[in-house]
């Protein structure tokens, strides 16, 4: 009999905190600087230097904790995680171990089918990033760039609550949305500002005990997370069904080959010998600090989605999409403000439809959209006041997008104004009826489906400019009266 396997996934997400300077030194954190120009004596681990904690990194961690309803530790401790690697000059990474700054919290995640699942967040702790090793262009050697060394990270550790790759991606996207809302991380995955490790195991459904897990390191896109988990689950199931056992190990996802493979070097280094860092005092956070941070919390994604659904009578799905980023939410709200809440659904359809696909197609961020909220709402107002039809509006939108002009200018220039003069529409209908006597006879003898044919002919003759509602009405009357 085939075993029904249940997948168990936990994620460790590394969010690079958007501070100007590093977590323990006054070096800059700007991305893309020439190698090693942003690495000072502390980052290089010169003898005798001491780390000094960046208050902004602590504030950002607390902000995250409050946003997931977690308890903020009144006392947290930095520890040394000891291992040797050339991109880690000190021989240890300063992290938090037994006493992290953010304790247990939780996050509601909406899945594709619309159901909401709550995922536990075990903890979130502050730590420093390591440098970068580069292997290209050097014969038998590696080059080390320490610009990234000491960059503040918030490691967000989930409970093993996810049961599929899709759930894992949905959770990761939610955290991604959240950290950008909080403005504590730019979320740029290409630049490595947001990445994750996935702990994956399988167990026969119904069994309580977890299977042995493998940890897949450094996944830096949502697609890779999904693909790596799929591959890893299939690998473990194959292994178990053929009588083998899963090893607890660290694996690397190779996106070119779409497979995970063992990182043997990391196995023996697994004994990190954590101990409290004597260079740093425990961090005490008082009520006043926490309340000051709480006062800076923005409207959170779930709150915004609930408000959109409530105030604008949108579906949960639409409200969720439109609140996926602060910028998108703000864009949508300014369009609705200009149109009136009664037309929120129209605004939602256009923002999620034409606008989103144009942004996607040209890979433009909504902040830099070539059609501003004002221009879009002006266009939609022309649908509302029946100057143009929805179909023509799409044509106008494309022209606005490529030419950067207002809707009115394009409607005027292209002569797209809708025909709402009944007499004019009737004239066209008469001509169409006269030109198609056979279809007219067929229609009148019961072929109702030909109605669409007549609509099409009139639209063709008017270049799509006949007001659709009026056309329907007039056509029905004309065709019916023999």
């Amino acid at each position: 009999m085939m075993t029904d396997w249940e997948v168990v996934i936990g994620l460790e997400i590394h969010a690079q905190l958007a501070t100007k300077s590093k977590i323990f030194s006054g070096s800059a954190t700007t991305y893309g600087a020439p190698p090693n120009v942003q690495a000072d004596l502390v980052d290089l681990a010169y003898p005798g230097v001491l780390p000094v904690l960046n208050g902004e990194a602590v504030r950002m961690a607390v902000k995250f904790g409050l946003s997931i309803g977690a308890e903020v530790a009144r006392r947290s401790v930095f520890a040394r995680k000891n291992y040797f690697y050339p991109d880690l000059p000190k021989g240890y990474q300063i992290s938090q171990y037994e006493l992290p700054v953010v304790k247990q919290g939780k996050l509601a995640v909406m899945l594709d089918d619309g159901t909401v699942k709550t995922i536990g967040v075990t903890r979130a702790h502050l730590e420093e990033d390591a440098g970068k090793s580069l292997h290209e262009g050097l014969a038998n050697a590696s080059g080390i760039d320490l610009n990234r060394a000491g960059t503040p990270l918030l490691e967000i550790v989930s409970e093993p609550d996810m049961r599929s790759a899709k759930e894992a991606v949905a959770y990761m996207k939610k955290i991604h949305t959240l950290v950008r809302y909080l403005e504590i991380c730019d979320g740029n995955m290409q630049e490595g500002s947001f990445r994750c490790d996935a702990n994956v195991s399988v167990r026969p459904r119904g069994r309580e005990k977890f299977g042995t897990r493998a940890e897949i390191k450094n996944l830096n896109s949502f697609r890779f997370v999904e693909k790596a988990i799929h591959y890893e689950v299939a690998r473990q199931v194959d292994l178990l069904e053929s009588g083998g056992t899963v090893l607890q190990e660290t694996r690397l996802y190779d996106s070119d080959k779409d497979e995970t493979r063992s990182m043997r070097s990391k196995e023996e280094a697994n004994d990190y010998r954590y101990f409290p860092d004597p260079d740093l005092l425990p961090v005490h956070i008082d009520e006043e600090f926490i309340e000051a941070v709480r006062a800076t919390l923005p409207e959170l994604p779930d709150e915004k989605a609930a408000r959109f659904a409530q105030d604008f009578s949108l579906s949960t799905y639409d409200a969720g999409v439109l609140s996926a980023s602060r910028e998108l939410g703000a864009y949508f709200e300014s369009v609705v403000a200009a149109l009136g809440a009664g037309h929120a659904k129209l605004a939602a359809n256009w923002v999620m439809g034409e606008l989103a696909s144009a942004l996607n197609r040209d890979n433009v961020d909504i902040v830099f959209s070539r059609v501003s909220p004002k221009y879009l709402s002006d266009l939609l107002l022309r649908i509302v006041d029946a100057t143009i039809s929805g179909k023509i509006a799409k044509e106008v939108f494309e022209a606005m997008w490529s030419e950067g002009k207002t809707a009115d200018a394009i409607i005027e220039a292209k002569g797209l104004k809708q025909i709402t003069d009944s007499g004019a529409i009737e004239g066209v209908i008469d001509a169409v009826m006269a030109a198609n006597p056979k279809q007219l006879a067929d229609y009148r003898s019961g072929k109702d489906k030909l109605f669409g044919f007549f609509v099409g002919q009139v639209m063709k003759a008017t270049e799509g400019k006949a007001n659709p509602g009026q056309l329907n009405e007039l056509l029905k009357a004309k065709l019916g009266s023999s």
């Binding site: 300077s21 090693n36 120009v37 904690l53 902004e56 292997h135 010998r273 005092l281």
Partner: protein
């Protein structure tokens, strides 16, 4: 608690130390006696003592303002490095 030769080999490996055959017995004995010395603490009743992470735990960790204070001195720092190329510190090849 006394350490075995395997314990010492593992610790040496983790610390990237190479210990010769002649040195090995000395390390096993000396390290064991250090560990035994510290083990004396486990005979003390500490059930109601909070773990102390730092001798100055009563003090506040000072927080630094998020300001960039350091400028680029990589040429000066790299003068101390054994090998440098194109601004990178060059080390023996490490690759997964």
């Amino acid at each position: 608690m006394s350490l075995t030769r395997q314990d010492v080999e593992k610790i040496a490996h983790l610390a990237r130390l190479s210990i010769t055959e002649q040195e090995m017995p000395v390390y096993v004995t000396s390290l064991s006696s250090i560990v035994e010395f510290v083990d004396a603490l486990s005979r003390v009743h500490t059930g109601d003592v909070l773990p102390m992470a730092h001798p100055l735990d009563g003090q506040q960790q000072r927080l630094r303002a998020d300001v960039v204070t350091e400028s680029d001195h990589h040429e000066k720092f790299q003068a101390n490095a054994p090998a440098v190329q194109a601004g990178l510190y060059v080390v023996p090849r490490v690759i997964e």
